[in-house]
């Protein structure tokens, strides 16, 4: 059975402005405590699209059993970080920038599992390619799920 990772971002809309604080809870489950070698939680942006992927973390925390009480990494944990001014979430034509909270667990025998929960930084509308001189910025979409 695959281990389960759950991530819950406090703000149910999962939309943030630069400088706001992101708070979230995460937990690892359905795995024996002795099988978990390390747990990494990060808040990061990464690109998607035609180009090779770029990635940068805003917040990063790595825990090993020795760091926690009872050597059990499965307990519910919280993280909070102030989001930066840039880059904003962006849905371009060939470049997409997505923000997410990612939790990665390192298990025995070199096994790794991860789960991520996306959120939106800023409120930019999706862009689309232009032909000629027309202005081509589509209307604002209010649904954060579009970024998933």
């Amino acid at each position: 059975m695959e281990p389960l990772i759950s991530i819950r971002i406090r703000d149910p809309h999962r939309r943030f402005q630069p400088g706001e604080e992101l708070q979230c809870e995460y937990q690892l489950d359905a795995v024996d405590a002795r099988d978990v070698l390390a747990l990494e939680a990060s808040v990061l942006w990464h690109t998607e699209g035609k180009g090779d992927e770029d990635l940068a973390v805003q917040y990063f925390e790595r825990l090993v059993p020795a760091d926690v009480e009872g050597r059990d990494l499965r307990a519910l944990r919280r993280l909070s970080t102030v989001l930066p001014n840039s880059p904003l979430s962006y849905l371009g034509v060939t470049v997409k920038i997505r923000w997410c909270v990612r939790v990665r667990a390192f298990l025995r025998r070199g096994k790794e599992v991860f789960f991520e929960q996306t959120f939106v930084l800023g409120e930019l509308p999706p862009a689309r390619a232009v032909a000629g001189d027309e202005v081509a910025v589509a209307a604002v979409d209010d649904e954060p799920d579009d970024l998933e």
């Binding site: 402005q17 630069p18 400088g19 990494e40 990060s42 990061l44 690109t47 699209g49 035609k50 180009g51 090779d52 992927e53 770029d54 990635l55 940068a56 973390v57 990063f60 790595r62 930066p84 001014n85 840039s86 880059p87 904003l88 962006y90 371009g92 034509v93 060939t94 470049v95 920038i97 990612r102 990665r104 390192f106 070199g110 790794e112 991860f114 800023g122 409120e123 930019l124 509308p125 862009a127 689309r128 390619a129 232009v130 000629g132 001189d133 027309e134 202005v135 081509a136 910025v137 604002v140």
Partner: protein, 346 residues
């Protein structure tokens, strides 16, 4: 099992479908063998030189030092490859990014780079604001492919026409000596046609580069922020009968990706807004064309962005069509900050 021993796997940039662990082991094995080969051969080479009767090839001289150089390079490439692979295996992309961020933070402690820390991934505008304008605050630097196109056209023109000249001489000589080489003559004809085109293109580029006067763009403030209004001044010098000259604000997405062993870059225009257009007028050397106007930055647009493989560029593009001249285009990059900056300023 099939996942481990598959013969082919998909790969795009750094991403691949196979097991990362197996891939890492394969890489480590390859570099390890290279390291051992280099180190053992180097040791044998040195020992045989010092203590044994070395074969002729390994005697001090050109061959000996070439062998030393090759073996040292094997050792260095293999050794660094093993260290790099070991560091990569078992380390997540997030952890590597966090390590890189901490290293970058040491540099960013200086005040000069404070904006880089305040607005990560937005390029600095120091190179765009270090030249004061005559009418407005800043004169923007121009970036265009002109010099490179002229250089390529010149190189092609010289190389191609040199080859063609030699071939033409041989063909002409054969005709003059009453022993015509018809096959060579036919072979030379396409060379001559391409040579004529290369000559025409070279002179066209040279005229374009030197004949059309400089374009200057100045701006009242920088960096730009959405939903703000700026003053822009454009000046075009030269001796031209202009059909149209327009200034446009554009935003391009730029992606770099690996396709096989090639690295490709693709640009896609996602925003274009005309600032002004002027039609049917003359420019004299004594009276350059000058135009000052407003630039209204749109709201809700993406800011400038630059990462290793992806970028979003904003620029002002001056595009002109003049009588008896090919179309010319000159780009003036600008930096756009997120809209929040404008609220803070307001």
């Amino acid at each position: 099992m099939a996942r481990i021993f598959r013969l082919w796997e998909k790969k795009r940039g750094d991403r691949r479908t196979g097991s990362q662990l197996v891939g890492g082991l394969g890489e480590a094995l390859f570099f390890g063998i290279l390291f051992l080969l280099g180190a053992l051969s180097l040791a044998y080479l040195v020992v045989s030189r010092l203590f044994l009767a070395a074969p002729q090839l390994y005697q001090p001289g050109f061959g000996f030092w070439v062998m030393v150089l090759v073996m040292v390079s094997f050792t260095l490439i293999g050794g660094s490859g093993v260290v790099y692979t070991v560091l990569q295996v078992g380390t997540s992309a997030e952890r590597r990014s966090a390590i890189a961020l901490r290293a970058a933070d040491i540099d960013l402690l200086s005040e000069a780079l404070a904006t880089q820390r305040e607005f990560p991934t937005i390029p600095r505008d120091a190179n765009l604001t270090n030249s004061p304008g005559i009418r407005l605050a800043y004169r923007l630097p121009v970036t265009h492919a002109g010099p490179w196109v002229l250089f390529a056209a010149t190189a092609f023109f010289l190389v191609w026409n040199s080859i063609t000249a030699v071939l033409v001489m041989v063909a002409v000589r054969s005709h003059m000596s009453q022993r015509p080489e018809w096959l060579l003559t036919l072979f030379v004809l396409p060379f001559v046609i391409i040579g004529i085109w290369a000559t025409y293109y070279f002179f066209q580029q040279m005229l374009l580069h030197t004949g059309i006067g400089p374009t200057t763009v100045e701006i009242s403030d920088h960096p730009l922020v959405p939903n703000c209004v700026y003053r822009v001044f454009l000046s075009q010098a030269g001796r031209l009968s202009v059909r149209s000259l327009e200034l446009t604000l554009v935003c391009d997405e730029e992606t770099t990706f690996r396709q096989g062993t090639d690295i490709r870059t693709q640009r896609c225009r996602v925003f274009s807004q005309r600032v002004f257009i002027e039609e049917n007028f003359r420019i004299e050397p004594s009276a350059a064309f000058e135009r000052e106007c407003e630039l209204a930055m749109p709201a809700n647009v993406m800011h400038s962005f630059r990462a290793k493989h992806n970028a979003i560029h904003w620029m002002l593009v001056a595009r002109g069509e003049a009588q008896s001249w090919p179309v010319f285009e000159r780009c003036f990059p600008v930096i756009v900050y997120p809209a929040r900056m404008s609220r803070e300023r307001g």
